[in-house]
């Protein structure tokens, strides 16, 4: 089977990989690169568990043709923590009990971090909008929304 070489930056590290024709970014990152943090939930673009940031913006891994990320910057949850130091979003998800099964958590964190990167002081509605493409079956969303709002506040505190 012929494979195509592609190169991109994953969490700041240059990455090269051979991919199958037509493979999506979700499978390539998980199976070929070994970053298991993003999850398969539907392959249809309807659940958000495979949300990654491409050039800082949220995209769905399952609907991204792997060849199209050539030369681009990709971020996953693997790049969130600064060494052992958790990102405030991770910390507040933890303290707020904002996960039960944890399967949607990486996608939620990516959706939330792209929001906070562009909008350090989001309203509750903006938080809701930011995670509107991410399904959570366990929590009823409220602890997730609260955690994101608190993380925003914590990040603002850190900046000043």
């Amino acid at each position: 089977m012929s494979k195509t070489p592609i190169q991109f930056t994953l969490n700041g590290k240059p990455t090269s990989v051979f991919v199958n024709g037509g493979a999506n970014l979700l499978e390539v990152l998980r199976r070929d690169v070994g970053d298991m943090t993003l999850k398969y939930g539907c392959g249809q673009g309807t659940c958000g568990t495979c949300t990654v940031l491409i050039d800082g913006e949220p995209h769905l891994g399952c609907l991204t043709l792997a060849e199209t990320v050539e030369g681009r910057q990709i971020e996953t949850v693997n790049g969130m923590a600064d060494g052992p130091e958790l990102h405030p979003l991770q910390k507040l998800f933890m303290e707020n009990f904002a996960a039960q099964c944890g399967f949607c958590t990486p996608g939620m964190l990516m959706a939330a971090s792209s929001l906070l990167n562009r909008n350090p002081n989001p309203s509750r509605e903006e938080v809701v909008e930011a995670i509107s493409g991410n399904i959570c079956r366990c929590t009823g969303y409220e602890p997730i929304i609260d955690a994101i709002l608190q993380a925003a506040s914590s990040l603002r505190g850190r900046a000043f």
Binding site: K39, C42, C47, N78, A99, G102
Partner: protein, 609 residues
């Protein structure tokens, strides 16, 4: 926004709150894994040369399989192995065979007859998932389409097509005796004749998808020492292991199952369909094999919470006391048994809900239809009947003109009461929950209802087992020869004049008046060119008849005091953390033996036919 309060003041003397870590809001053990994406779900294990398994699925609700031709598929790019039904060593199982409940009725891969849309027929293992999908499309299955049945009550008619060959009456066989599970407690017919009001209703639960964000799946791989490791999303590790061992006719010692970190389950990951096929694939190819549902399969092929239909008939006194409650229930099991038959037993033990009602009867049917088999889901066996009971309680409250909360408090079960399955209630807390919820919502209830307690006024007469009418209607196969009623039998001669009936069906009834013209807006008028669309349970809106009163005054049922009933007083509840490692003791011996063939030597009952 949510708020939460812990009402430590209630039942305070039954608890010791001075514990080290119990009762503390400790951070979850698994949370760090979740927020860093490191929690190892079944699919997060890397294997060199992982193969992918997909299934060819039935395109019909019900069809004989005349032939299966896989020759084109075998030649497709990337195909490593085609797995046929004959490749499954012991290709028949029922999920609860591990606890000896029900007959084996379901093949892992079906080669004789498919009984639902999406039933698996052939499995294909290929190098990529896409190749496996493409090869599945190349498999030719020659079907002879059979008539199908999708409605539970259609399915139990004598003329209905047979869905499941192991249960040719389209109903699960209970106790090798009846086509339904019975509950008989007291004499509902007699009580109905004495009731001031009869309130009836029918309720329909929808089939519901568990919809965990992680779909069901497993990866199996050959391990050292001639064993297979299987990473799985199962909710029941040894259930899946045991099922795999049975279907593959393989010693369990060859199976190494790893799981425990699962992306949501809600009951949808009990069925153990993925592990056997993944292990079989690994066994036949010598390579790691992954088999997982895609989302579309998870929603339409993966077993849902089955639909349930319940009919409830209550006999109610003017003061709100419910003196009789009769249930007829139909569980839509789909094409195979899985867990529905067991859920019915659980549901039966739950009747008549958290209320003390002196006369209760119930017939519940586990019905086979040509749809996706049903399985467990959060609240399985209970959720549907609770929906029915609690909607019905509001209708009863309306019929007698009572505050619906007070109606529930009046009928609530209390410590020491006899339940319809003939065990004494203890550790009750319904009344307190009702009072607190009403209080939080500022829904006023009168002082005497606020003064009620689960600890008071139970037992005594309420602990008695009443004389009970039993019957043997609905013996296995009887329904196939002729139409017989599904509700608990009222054959016999005790019932006299039926009281007036309030009919509640579908969607209906508002008692206050509105001028009809008031809402007759053109924008609400039905469009003229709209075709008739079948909508589930459409909506006749009948005004109810005003309830009429029965002239027969209610009398307490005559209590035959059986010597073996439990003490009338409430059992003493331990005041602090109980001693949990004492061997469990059942609440009491059976009033009489079980599994008796034929007639029942019932102590206090009278057989009606």
């Amino acid at each position: 926004m949510s708020t939460i309060e812990f009402r430590k003041d209630i039942f305070a003397d039954e608890r010791d709150d001075n514990l080290n870590t119990i009762g503390k809001p400790e951070i979850r053990q698994d949370i760090l894994g979740h927020v860093t994406g490191r929690s190892p779900y079944f699919d997060d294990h890397k294997f060199e040369g992982l193969l992918h398994l997909r299934c060819v699925r039935s395109i019909h609700h019900h069809a004989k399989i005349r032939s299966i031709n896989t020759s084109a598929a075998e030649k497709m790019p990337g195909v490593v192995r085609v797995i046929l039904p004959k490749d499954v060593p012991h290709n028949i199982n029922t999920l609860l065979s591990l606890i000896g409940f029900g007959r084996d009725d379901e093949a892992l891969l079906q080669d004789k007859k498919v009984a639902y849309l999406g039933e698996a027929i052939v499995a294909i293992v290929a190098e990529t998932e896409l190749q496996a999908r493409n090869a599945c499309k190349a498999v030719q299955v020659d079907y002879e389409v059979l008539p199908h049945v999708l409605d539970v009550e259609e399915a139990i008619k004598p003329s209905a097509p047979i869905v499941n060959d192991q249960y040719p009456n389209n109903t699960f066989d209970y106790h090798d005796l009846y086509d339904h599970q019975k509950l008989r407690f007291g004499d509902v017919e007699k009580a109905f004749s004495q009731a001031d009001h009869i309130v009836e209703g029918e309720y329909q639960m929808s089939p519901i998808e568990q919809a965990p964000t992680e779909t069901c799946g497993a990866i199996a791989a050959p391990e050292q020492n001639d064993r297979y490791v299987c990473y799985t999303s199962t909710q029941a590790l040894f259930f899946s292991l045991g099922t795999t061992a049975k279907l593959l006719d393989m010693p369990s010692s060859k199976l190494h199952f790893v799981g425990g970190t699962v992306g949501g389950g809600f009951g949808g990951k009990v069925d153990s369909l993925h592990e056997p096929l993944a292990v079989l694939g690994a066994h036949l190819t010598g390579k790691p094999v992954k088999y997982t549902y895609d989302r579309a399969e998870e929603m339409q092929v993966g077993a849902p919470r089955g639909a349930e239909r319940w009919r409830i008939k209550d006999g109610v006194m003017n003061d709100g006391r419910i003196i009789a409650r009769q249930f007829t229930g139909f569980f839509d099991s789909g094409a195979y048994t899985r867990l529905s038959s067991y859920a019915i037993v659980k549901g039966t033990g739950h009747l008549p809900g958290p209320y003390t009602i002196p006369n209760v009867s119930s017939n519940v049917y586990c019905v086979y239809t040509n749809r996706t088999p049903a399985t467990a889901m959060r609240g399985f066996g209970i959720t549907g009947v609770d929906f029915s009971i609690e909607c019905h309680m509001d209708k009863v409250a309306e019929a007698v003109g009572m505050n619906p909360i007070e109606l529930r408090l009046l009928n609530a079960y209390r410590d020491g009461d006899m339940k319809a399955h003939r065990r004494i209630a203890k550790n009750c807390a319904l009344i307190e929950c009702v009072q607190v919820a009403a209080q939080k919502a500022a829904w006023l209830i009168s002082p005497q209802y606020n003064a009620m307690s689960s600890l008071k006024d139970g037992g005594g007469e309420r602990a008695q087992i009443p004389p009970t009418m039993i019957d043997d209607v609905g013996k296995i196969g009887e329904r196939k020869s002729r139409e017989i009623p599904t509700e608990p039998s009222s054959n016999g001669s005790m019932s006299t004049k039926p009281p007036s009936t309030i009919e509640f069906k579908g969607v209906s009834t508002a008692m206050n008046t509105v001028t009809p013209d008031e809402l007759a807006r053109p924008d609400l008028a039905p469009p003229t060119n709209t075709s008739e669309i079948a909508v589930p349970r459409p909506v006749p809106a009948a005004q109810p008849q005003a309830p009429q009163r029965s002239t027969t005054p209610y009398q307490q049922p005559v209590v035959t005091p059986p010597s073996q009933i439990a003490p009338a007083s409430a059992p003493v509840v331990p005041p602090s953390a109980p001693v949990p490692n004492e061997p469990y003791k059942p609440a009491g011996d059976f009033q009489r033996g079980t599994k008796r063939p034929g007639n029942s030597p019932f102590v206090s009952g009278t057989r009606r036919r």
